[in-house]
């Protein structure tokens, strides 16, 4: 099966391992991720302002291309996923903006949110299935205690993202358990790490990230997994003394296509 794939700017640079192990692992399940041609950066954060049209164009171009190829669009980065999924929702539900954007794109067919958007985790759950993943595990995690860190962008706004229960998500915990690990539930797993405030207020990012790290450790986590390069950066930068890794690295390790992820 072939699916369209939007890697995003960070996955081509600082977060290469988030990208590489996503592609390699999906091949094992018979899924080839076909990169969108000439994709453009999603912008990192979704603008909710109704008069902010130009910031939606990159997402719409990617969505439209996937739809025209008859493929669902897969993302891995939490931020790209959030921006693209919210933009798709807007195109479906706000005809005035869809028409404005059509005048920018101007290629003869108006896009109105028809593409299906999957985060890679949703692809694992809904297309591959966690039972299939369990069967392919060759290096089980032997009960390692792992805290899933969702942060903000995968889950909220929940009426649009519809990935999981926004206050009690299970999708990453189910993945951890399929890989043979023990998932650790902790209160701050869906709270903010500080995000882009790290650029101008390291202090606020430190406060927010420390709350996440301390909370996860107190609950017994020996490792944290995330789908977001900025969450990972903030947690590591602010002194996490347990490893913070991408969920795709852990997946690839358990599937036997990557060495130990502890470093």
């Amino acid at each position: 099966m072939k699916l369209s794939y939007f890697p995003g700017c960070t996955l081509k640079n600082k977060a290469k391992s988030l990208d590489i192990y996503a592609r390699k692992s999906s091949e094992l399940f018979g899924i080839t991720l076909e990169e969108i041609d000439n994709w453009q950066c999603c912008g990192g954060v979704y603008s909710t302002a109704k008069n902010d049209v130009a910031t939606k164009l990159a997402s719409v171009r990617a969505l439209k291309q996937a739809y025209e190829k008859g493929q669902a669009l897969v993302t891995v980065c939490s931020a790209c996923h959030n921006v693209i999924k919210q933009t798709n929702h807007l195109m479906k539900n706000d005809t005035a903006i869809a028409k404005k954007i059509d005048r920018y794109i101007n290629d003869g067919s108006m896009y109105t949110g028809q593409a299906q958007v999957y985060h890679y985790l949703e692809m694992l759950r809904d297309i591959v299935g966690f039972d299939e993943i369990r069967k392919k595990v060759v290096n089980p995690l032997n009960g390692k205690k792992i805290g899933a860190y969702y942060g903000c962008l995968l889950l909220r706004p929940s009426s649009v993202m519809q990935m999981d229960n926004p206050e009690n998500p299970t999708i990453m915990e189910e993945l951890i358990s399929a890989l043979g690990g023990q998932s650790i539930i902790y209160a701050n797993r869906n709270e903010c790490c500080g995000g882009y405030i790290a650029m101008e207020s390291g202090e606020l990012a430190r406060k927010k990230s420390n709350q996440v790290i301390e909370n996860a450790k107190k609950a017994g986590a020996e490792m944290i997994i995330t789908a977001c390069p900025l969450c990972r950066y903030n947690l590591i930068k602010n002194g996490s003394d347990i490893p913070v890794v991408y969920f795709t690295e852990l997946l690839a390790q358990a599937l036997g296509i990557k060495g130990d992820t502890n470093e």
Partner: protein
């Protein structure tokens, strides 16, 4: 000094109806940037509603929102305060000379590990 933007414009840009607010304070209680803000999410809702917009437009609070959507998701009345903060911020940074982050500022904010995502996100929120 930024002059007040018309209330009805902010409501249109944000899509927010502040009259739905029942003043429970949950938005501010769940806000990760609460301690850093002069005006908190619930105050954005009540001040825009009463036309008290100039103080909001001249407060650093508009740059403290982390776009985490916690107040959007957890509001029991669907008011979605972050959308109002976004509308005020956009009304401010769109004015000539009002960019909060300049390209020349960026090199001093970087280290070897900072992801591109942080830079593009900050630009999208702080500059036009």
């Amino acid at each position: 000094m930024n002059k007040a933007y018309p209330t009805e414009e902010l409501l249109r840009i944000s899509g927010v109806n502040p009259n739905k607010c029942m003043k429970c304070g949950k938005c501010s209680a769940t806000c990760p940037a609460y301690d850093e803000m002069e005006y908190h999410p619930h105050q954005f809702v009540s001040m825009v509603n009463s036309g008290d917009i100039e103080p909001l437009m001249n407060s650093e609070s508009i740059f403290k929102c982390l776009s985490c959507f916690a107040c959007v998701d957890r509001c029991p009345r669907g008011v979605e305060p972050a959308k109002l903060i976004e509308a005020v911020r956009i009304a401010v940074v769109r004015k000539q000379g009002n960019n909060h982050l300049l390209a020349d500022d960026v090199p001093n904010m970087l280290d070897d590990e900072i992801p591109q995502q942080a830079i593009v996100s900050a630009f999208r929120k702080y500059s036009k």
